[in-house]
């Protein structure tokens, strides 16, 4: 076959690829066939052959609906083919440039020159792949797994294929292993397999981090050949030491880097492996949070040894990892703190008063330094000015506390890990031995105790066990309720397995599930389906529906995390403010395990801080005497409670303080011009006035709260989360703020409305009512500004077709009463089409923010419906008004 025919074929294939729709399988298949023809005709042209086979691989995966491993397979195909074509025309295969996605920048220099996209992802995955492989081999060796052959074969085969796609040497190694596995049972070749896995691990690290390249695989090939030929050499390895020595390197990407660092200049590990740093920051954050909580417990009962142990472990873990990452200041501070706690742990001093304050400060400073680490992106922080002073005070506290010898980290080694509390610290401490070869690691490992079995699972960075999910001691109450603050010793010791997943990937999946739900309802609702009267089919459809619903539930739950950590922060805030204001406050949390969408949990913190501060500062009476005079106990109580209600999550901030006096609120609101003296408001409407901008009832402005900003921000933040806030209050008995939040931000309840030929989605949360107004209810101002009377109140009335310049003239017989930001408006529509769960999507980066629209959603018929942004509609009415049309102003609710 001639070069010419290749060129012709390639030309035709390139054009087909451009018009290719991944759903059009016959076309994909025909391209595949033609390319196979090309491959057969290529002859001796390794570069071209490899590229063509990469293309074939992508096509395969398109047909099989697998992940082709590249972001945009069709355009990559196009690029590869364009390059092939060019080379074919010039009759010089050396001209081929492999698209970056297929070679990870290999087009230029070495593969390490530009790690991008696919190669990087591949390499990252291999850490856990190799780890799994290793576990499999070890399992086989221990006789725990019987028939691992097929699984191993499959794994190596996949690895081989991927390596070939990327043009990596690992292809040949995997190929040989495959040969071996086909002929010899895995049990007999475990040692060789482990050696091969080690070699692969080293090789991948070499590509990823520039670690030393592994030696030539020739020795390995020889071993493999020996195995195939049946020469004995592999005996089951009895030596535990050997196992450990071999298990360590592949278990963690960091260890060869560590040895590399040790042999050359003292480079911080963090410089080599930014992932480690990120993990450290995250985990340290968890530990510190935990430490803080334990401190609060300790404060109520300084004799209790449980919190001290937990505290010690948390700080100790931070110290160990900081040391490994050469974060010297952090390590020193953690070390001093640890020394103090070590004394307390051994009963040589009591952590109370000044000393516990010191530990609080230590935790705070650690938090800050670690926080800087993240924001600065640096691998080391400069010592904050107060570090020296704090260290001195810690040291003197240690020396005052007893005549004990100088700090004794060595002691910690033999310290028995308290068995009563299964502790997150243990789980992540267990990850230390795998990521470090220092003595520190062994030390931390010993404290990990029970969690050691989880060590290997916990160590791989992509599949790192997340500490926050480990069963933590159950603490329903913090503050001055020691009885409830005791951990439940019966909490199981099981350390769950966790996988850290890129949040974007998770979102994508949740998105796709949303699509699936819609696609399914499109199929099930199709007219043609109604005509089919096959019981099997309808049963199968029912099954499909059930599976999809379950999938949807799981998908939603993936993003859910408990509100615990947010609640813990509040405990700290209550403590600090009550110290500052001199009030005695007992802080109780209920329902910390209630789960919320992560994005909601992240955003609810700020409003909660405001409300909790408010409760301490304004809610609870100024002095204990005040409280006594009202027949209450001197200690005020603030309760933070989370629970489910009607498909929503409610968070309550309740105090048993003064309560809100509606008369005072009203007077103040009139003084501030927020309402007119004539306004008739119900009690709950009156309470809502405190959310108005510029409203503050504090007698005096304190630095805790009461600057007149705050509560309006609270409401805005909560409404931004599509939540609502309500107030219940009884004068003299207390006040409760109830925040009602949706479970997730990605899905809303929407009402689909029709205006002319356009359909819009109104978030049900914003809809107060809908009604058909009589002529008497409608009126206008200055001839054009329309109003409508609803429940005795006059609301401005808007027409979507004016606001959105819709061309169709419409009847618009219905009025929707909508509320946001505490304001109500009427909006006219033609028809209500129905209620539906809506998956919110952005309109695309190119459009940016569209006034009055929050996003879009795919409706059951496959078309896009736009979701109204009610608060944005107000702004739109304002801008339209300034553009000339006189429109009435929305009224305060």
């Amino acid at each position: 076959m001639t070069q010419e025919s290749i060129v012709t074929t390639l030309e035709s294939v390139s054009e087909q690829v451009l018009l290719l729709d991944a759903n059009d399988l016959p076309s994909v298949a025909s391209i595949h066939t033609e390319l196979q023809g090309v491959a057969a005709r290529l002859g001796n042209a390794p570069k071209a052959t490899s590229l063509v086979s990469s293309c074939l691989g992508i096509l395969d995966s398109i047909v099989l609906r697998e992940d082709p491993g590249v972001a945009d397979p069709i355009s990559v195909l196009g690029q590869a083919l364009a390059s092939l074509l060019e080379a074919a025309r010039a009759d010089d295969w050396e001209l081929i440039t492999v698209p970056a996605e297929l070679a990870g920048g290999a087009g230029g220099g070495t593969a390490t020159a530009g790690l991008d996209g696919i190669l990087e992802e591949f390499l990252q995955n291999q850490v856990s792949v190799l780890e799994e492989l290793e576990a499999l081999v070890l399992g086989v060796e221990r006789g725990e797994i019987d028939d691992a052959g097929p699984a191993l074969l499959r794994a190596f085969h996949t690895l081989k294929g991927e390596s070939a796609l990327l043009g990596l040497d690992s292809e040949r190694v995997c190929h040989r292993i495959e040969d071996m596995l086909e002929q010899v049972p895995a049990l007999l070749v475990a040692q060789t397999l482990l050696e091969a896995i080690d070699w692969l691990g080293q090789y991948f690290r070499h590509l990823r981090e520039g670690a030393p390249a592994p030696g030539s695989p020739d020795a390995l090939y020889t071993r493999i050949q020996e195995q195939i030929d049946g020469e004995p050499s592999d005996l089951p390895r009895p030596s535990g030491q050997q196992t450990q020595a071999e298990a360590a390197p592949p278990a963690s990407a960091a260890s060869p880097a560590a040895s590399g660092a040790a042999s050359s200049a003292p480079i911080s590990l963090a410089e080599i492996e930014p992932q480690l740093l990120t993990d450290f920051v995250q985990e340290a954050g968890d530990h510190l949070e935990e430490a803080e909580q334990e401190l609060l417990r300790l404060e109520t009962d300084p004799e209790d040894s449980e919190p001290i142990h937990a505290l010690f472990r948390a700080i100790h873990t931070i110290k160990g990892v900081a040391g490994m990452l050469r974060l010297d200041h952090i390590q020193r501070l953690a070390h001093s703190g640890e020394t103090l706690m070590d004394k307390a742990r051994h009963g040589e001093l009591l952590l109370q008063g000044e000393r516990i304050e010191l530990v609080f400060q230590t935790v705070d400073l650690l938090k800050r330094m670690i926080g800087e680490l993240m924001s600065g992106g640096a691998s080391e922080v400069s010592a904050p000015p107060e570090l020296g002073n704090l260290l001195e005070r810690l040291d003197s506290a240690v020396n005052d506390g007893g005549k004990a010898s100088a700090s004794a980290p060595a002691q910690t080694k033999s310290a028995p890990a308290p068995a009563a509390t299964p502790n997150p610290a243990a789980a992540s401490a267990a990850s230390v031995p795998a990521t470090s070869s220092t003595a520190d690691a062994a030390e931390a490992g010993s404290s990990a105790g029970t969690a050691s079995s989880a060590a290997s699972a916990a160590s791989a960075s992509p599949a790192k066990a997340s500490a926050d999910g480990a069963p933590a001691p159950e603490t329903n109450g913090t503050g001055s309720r020691p009885e409830s603050a005791r951990p439940t010793p019966s909490v199981t010791n099981v350390v769950k397995d966790f996988i850290k997943v890129d949040a974007a990937r998770l979102d994508k999946m949740v998105d796709m599930i949303g699509e699936l739900v819609i696609a399914e309802s499109m199929v099930a609702g199709a007219k043609e389906m109604q005509d089919i009267s096959s019981p099997e089919l309808s049963r199968d459809l029912g099954l499909l529906n059930k599976i999809i619903r379950e999938l949807q539930e799981i998908g939603t739950s993936l993003r859910m995390i408990p509100v615990r950590s947010t609640f813990q922060k509040m405990a700290r805030i209550v403590r600090d403010i009550s110290k500052k204001t001199g009030k005695h406050i007992e802080f109780v949390t209920v329902g910390e395990e209630t789960e919320l969408d992560k994005s909601v949990v992240d955003k609810i913190g700020d409003p909660l801080v405001h409300m909790v501060r408010n409760a301490v500062d304004h809610g609870i009476e100024a002095t204990p005497e005040d409280r006594r005079n009202h027949g209450k106990s001197e200690t005020g109580r603030i309760t933070l409670r989370a629970y489910h209600r009607e498909g929503n999550i409610c968070i309550e901030v309740a105090d048993d303080g003064r309560g809100i006096d509606p008369a005072r609120i009203r007077k103040k609101a009139i003084d501030k011009g927020i309402i007119t003296p004539e306004a008739e408001l119900t009690e709950s409407e009156t309470f809502m006035l405190i959310f108005e901008p510029g409203f503050s009832t504090a007698e005096q402005v304190t630095d805790v709260s009461g600057r007149g900003v705050g509560m309006d921000v609270v409401r805005r933040n909560i409404e931004a989360l599509r939540g609502k806030v309500q107030i219940r209050s009884v004068l003299g008995q207390g006040t409760t703020f109830v925040i009602q939040l949706p479970l997730t931000l990605a899905i809303i309840d929407g009402m689909i409305v029709r205006v002319g030929e356009d359909r819009f989605i109104v978030p049900t949360a914003n809809v107060i009512n809908s009604f058909q107004p009589t002529e008497q209810q409608k009126s206008s101002v200055f001839g054009s500004g329309e109003v409508v009377v609803f429940q005795g109140r006059t609301l401005p009335l808007f027409h979507l077709r004016h606001l959105f310049d819709l061309s169709q003239s419409a009847e618009e017989p219905l009025v929707l009463v909508l509320e946001a930001d505490g304001r109500k408006i009427g909006v006219t529509v033609d028809e209500l089409l129905g209620h539906q769960q809506i998956v919110i999507k952005s309109l695309g980066a190119a459009l940016g923010r569209v006034p009055g629209i929050t996003g879009g959603a795919v409706l059951p018929d496959g078309k896009i419906g736009l979701i109204l942004d009610i608060a944005g509609l107000y702004k739109l009415t304002e801008s339209k008004r300034s553009a000339g049309a006189p429109l009435p102003e929305p009224v305060a609710a």
Binding site: L18, L19, A82, L803, A846, L847, R849, I853, L866
Partner: protein
């Protein structure tokens, strides 16, 4: 764009009225039928709206309007070229409504001429180069500039 920096390569040509334009093939993600477009209010008029592309929402720009060409009814040949363009770290995907997609053309350096000076009447930022092929004049578009311009105007609308 005075130089025709490495303009040679593969292009997808399409028509708007009687004029022929072309886009670099690397920018083209796919070509899709002119499906139901949902109108989006209060955005520049060259945004025809949004469509559902494999479950994602895709904004669609009507190139005729963007370039100030007279309005024309859609025909069965009207289709949407989905292009990807990177702006900073963000990758934007946009659909372009064109009258018809013509063919794939390979342009060599010899086919390409620098953009002539049109005077003030024509925005040459959108033009990468001109090409002549088989007696046909093809305008090679600078997609990045066209889209960046479109988006800047959206942002301006937003700010207003």
């Amino acid at each position: 764009m005075s130089s025709n920096r490495s303009s040679a390569g593969k292009f997808l040509s399409f028509t708007l009225g009687k004029e022929t334009y072309a886009l670099e093939i690397m920018k083209v993600k796919e070509i899709t039928a002119n499906t139901d477009v949902t109108h989006v209010p209060n955005v520049p008029d060259y945004f025809r709206g949004v469509i559902n592309l494999h479950g994602s929402i895709l904004p669609v720009i009507e190139l005729r309007r963007k370039f100030g060409l007279p309005f024309a009814e859609d025909t069965p040949q009207t289709c949407i070229i989905v292009v990807q363009h990177d702006r900073g770290a963000v990758s934007h995907v946009v659909g372009l409504v064109v009258d018809s997609v013509s063919e794939f053309v390979d342009l060599s350096q010899d086919d390409i001429e620098p953009t002539p000076n049109f005077g003030s009447g024509i925005d040459t930022r959108f033009i990468r180069a001109m090409a002549k092929r088989e007696g046909l004049v093809i305008t090679l578009l600078d997609v990045d500039n066209v889209l960046a311009d479109a988006e800047i105007q959206t942002e301006a609308t937003e700010a207003a």
